[in-house]
Symmetry: C5
Subunit: 290 residues, 5 copies
């Protein structure tokens, strides 16, 4: 995620888009511009037609299309925000487990404390890499070779980290350093880890329904292709500029939606997963250290 | 569910709709087109009427109709997304039960572990077939003939799978391999199964209210039938094209809504229940195996 | 609730409204039609006025009114859907109690099992009749005369059924067939019953705020009454038809909202409480029988 | 809250507003009317200006303003509905505590039962008076002088009632009539009381943000003041009527929002707190009596 | 937060904006005004161009832009309201812990009671300062030097206060004044503290996505820059006034959104964190004192 000041209007107005948006926006814009130019040329200079058309038709459709796009952006934003909430909850749950483990374990259980201090942040790193289809485990603190091997061999690493935490809690319980009631209390956050992984996977693997996505693009395309027909009688060659401007605004809304609805990548709009994971590590370390 | 790349604009613009949409869209479109053509012919060539009508009336109604349709699409999408969330929760709950059972059961309880490894994924398969009004149990791993018979004879199979899981947990509890506190912890996810089944049934069995659905279709129909009256004075025979285009956009929104609001079938927009169920099986197997 | 196929466009377009809508819609429509006719007659044929009015004013107000009505419909739909969710939760909770009671009770406790099998579905019947201000208990299975009398004498029957369930659970607990931890687990669903009753009562007893409802009707009325003034200069006697059509659409939205916002009656849009209650009975019977 | 029939259109259309709305609406309406009249007089009769203005500008702004106001109304309604939900939850929690206490306490604990029967409804009365900044305790059943004094002296009475309930539960627990697990179960609803009080206080003490409220009023005012400039060229003195009508609709939306966003007072739109509190008293009495 | 009367229309209409809004609004407004003036001068007086443009194009875009801005404001408001809810929950949790500690601890545990009375409100003060990037601890009641030092040295003070509370609860548990079940009950609110801190941090550290924010400002800017082209043919120099007015309304919506979406500062729209923290202190003191 790019760090930016939402209040510096000047830089935001003249800043460039992300590579993704530019890569799609410019060819589309160019296509619509050239198409409109050709149409104007044919109608005005070649066939020399005249027609007193009105733009009321595109006016109605424009409002409906705009409504559609704006609500679609809202949906995309909701997904982005849900992703952010899930990672916020991951921070909370990690801290909370650390606070509880610290309070529950007796003073002399330094080894267990050490284990949790190093293992809890691994959940965040494992989820992050899992969501990015990465197999790197360099950021994890794998404690010893046995655990490292279990993590590497595992096909679903967030599950494995969760299991390693559960196993240790059960071990403490058997040794009597954690009671049955305390297991119950710890379960809330451990369960939270699984829920967070599953919800992030859901957001990542489920784009908006196929028909929906297809329809928006068809609507946008047909609207842009027919727009010159309404405008060129009144505006002549200015129509090229007007159609491009309208198309630019409408397509941008759709492109931004596409970009933010999948928030776990490494685009400039994506969530700062690295920073959050490191923050979790810092917080857990502080709690279980001193 | 069709796998598609939401970012490949070209293919999406020229891709065809689902069979369902096409089967309804084309007859409706044809009807409206022929009707408008006839009306234009009668007014322009037969009776040769002239009238300086304005389209302000259909402009206002068009915006209201568009608003109505867009919000109705949002409602349909919410149902689709709720369905997806429920199946995401099913993944979470299945994993979580597996992780907990693995942590709670002693090492030597291989038979119980095996039972849960094979039975937990059956919940997903049972719910899937139940939602599709199917009686197939081929994908289930029914362990032995007694269990198989109980599942086959059961009228509500997801309930039966849930009971089989509960019964086994109670058996373990009586044998002392699971404690009362652990039952309590497991109950969260077992309860989750029942809630997920019920919520999916609710979405499946409850279309939007009858009056609502009827009104949208009446509104759309009357709007399309009266639209030529506003346009034909200015646009002549072009009205046929304009009315068909407007009708195409408006009806498409309604048809897409109808398609996505019932997300558990096997249409291209429906949720990938098969894939999710298999994923649950893979995840649970891995957790309860090694 | 009427069973209908949301995809059969033809029948839905030509189907008639519910009695409620018709009873209100036609007099209002007639009044507006006659009023507009009179106004047109006076202005055009009696006083023979001419005026180059524009309809921009009613255009702006129409969009705002439409927005208002569409959002109000959304609110009404949310209530309807919340009612459906509550009854879906009632299904889940009833099933879940049955599954748990079946798992917790020892095999030989046939009498307790029988009691729960017959008593759990009574919750649904009691809530249904309570929401319909009915005092019928014919659908309930009242087990014996003492219980029947307690239910009949009770002023709030859903509460009484809930108490009868609680009392029996406590009895089992005292006899040692249910443990304290199991009571805790059962409490989730028993508590659910009370929450469902209360939430249904809330929906039933709370229409939208008085000022809100009054304002919508005033807005609609004044809008319809002044609409002819904008249209008649351009459209002459056609104004009668146009105003009636606009009024028909706008009033229908409001009437449908009124109909669906109170979803527990026996109108065609109301929820199928009878079917759901019977489904609960079937499900619970199957779980606690074999 | 006024009891009204949302379906009696006639009376609602001709009913008068609440005093609050009238007190603000009429002066504002009068001011805008006189201002427009003066402007028309100056422009038309004094300076005799002519100008071919269009109303497109106020058309765009009008839609944006309308959108703003309608969404603001939705926000206000959400607060009102949240307030209603909280009081519905208070009903549920009160009933549920009564049902549980009745089930948990042994038959012979008549004094404890009596205590809860009289004390539980006090929570509702205490919250109601607290939300209305009242210090009356006449509706409470204060049992004995010691408790009465504690309540009177308390600065936050809902907290005090909650404490009195907690203390009694603890007393029962120490005497062994309530077990530790049962305390746990009762805690859910006792905790609910505190959450309800806090949430009601939040709604009461937090109007919408200052800038937001200020901007809406500025927008409305400037819109109304500049509206005649667009209309008077076409409509002459009729502008006075048109501007007043538009202003009436727009200001009414804002006034209704203001009225319903603070739902705990004694206005006609406010929630029926008295009725709900009495209903709680009746329900709890019935449960803990027979 | 400024204390204001939402119903005093007069003062709100003529009140000035916050410094933040004014600082950004006026330069932008001036720039647009001067730009439009120049353009008008060039077109009308220098080049003396004539053109029969229509404003339909800016009409469509204006509605879409308005829709975008209004929904963006709604999003900002949701964040503000979520922040308010979190602090409301902090009030509830603080009160609830105090009530429970008071009920659970035996009468003679005056020291523990004193500890909680002084420590619980520190959570609110710590969160407040943490959210304002402040290191002041003057408002906290740090009990003794050891605790003071731990808080000062801590990098994440809300976590530290939470730990100090947990540690004391564990101490009481070891001494037998609090039971395992009571720990469980207290855990709900202690966990609540961590969730509240994390959620507030999330709101504070996550502005709306970069592309989204950038696009809105680009859209607004291009819209304002091209607006004169549509208006000046009809309105001449009045265009300067009209463009400035439209720009004023549109930019204000965006500026207000920016201001309220970060609700934990000390602006006039920000939440009254100081007042809430002091209220918590008063409430907790009263509960744990008498």
């Amino acid at each position: 995620m790019i760090q930016y000041n939402p209040r510096s209007w000047f830089s935001l107005i003249f800043d460039v888009y992300s590579r993704y948006v530019i890569k799609l926006l410019f060819p589309l814009l160019l296509f619509v511009g050239v198409f409109t130019l050709l149409l104007c040329f044919l109608v005005i200079d070649v066939f020399n037609l005249h027609y007193g058309g009105t733009i009321a038709f595109h006016s109605i459709l424009g409002v409906i299309l705009g409504l559609f796009l704006v609500l679609r952006t809202n949906t995309a934003y909701d997904r982005w925000w849900e992703g952010r909430k899930l990672w916020g909850q991951l921070v909370n749950d990690s801290r909370q487990i650390a606070i509880k483990v610290d309070a529950f374990l007796p003073k002399e259980a330094t080894e267990d404390r050490e284990y949790f201090r190093r293992m809890i942040p691994n959940a965040a790193f494992a989820i992050k890499e899992h969501l990015r289809d990465s197999i790197l485990i360099g950021e994890m603190d794998t404690i010893n070779d046995e655990i490292k091997n279990r993590i590497i061999k595992s096909k679903h690493r967030p599950n494995m980290v969760n299991r390693l935490l559960y196993d240790r809690v059960m071990k403490c319980m058997k040794e009597g350093t954690i009671t049955a009631e305390q297991l119950f209390i710890l379960d809330k956050e451990l369960k939270g880890f699984t829920d967070i992984v599953g919800a992030c996977e859901r957001i990542k693997s489920t784009p908006i329904p196929y028909s929906y996505s297809m329809f928006i693009k068809k609507f946008l395309f047909i609207y842009a292709i027919t727009l010159p027909v309404s405008f060129m009688w009144d505006f002549g060659y200015w129509t090229v500029f007007i159609v491009m401007l309208a198309f630019y605004f409408l397509v941008s809304i759709e492109l931004i939606s596409e970009e933010i609805e999948d928030p776990f990548g490494t685009d400039i709009n994506d969530l700062p997963l690295n920073e959050i994971a490191l923050k979790i590590k810092r917080n857990v370390s502080e709690i279980l250290h001193d």
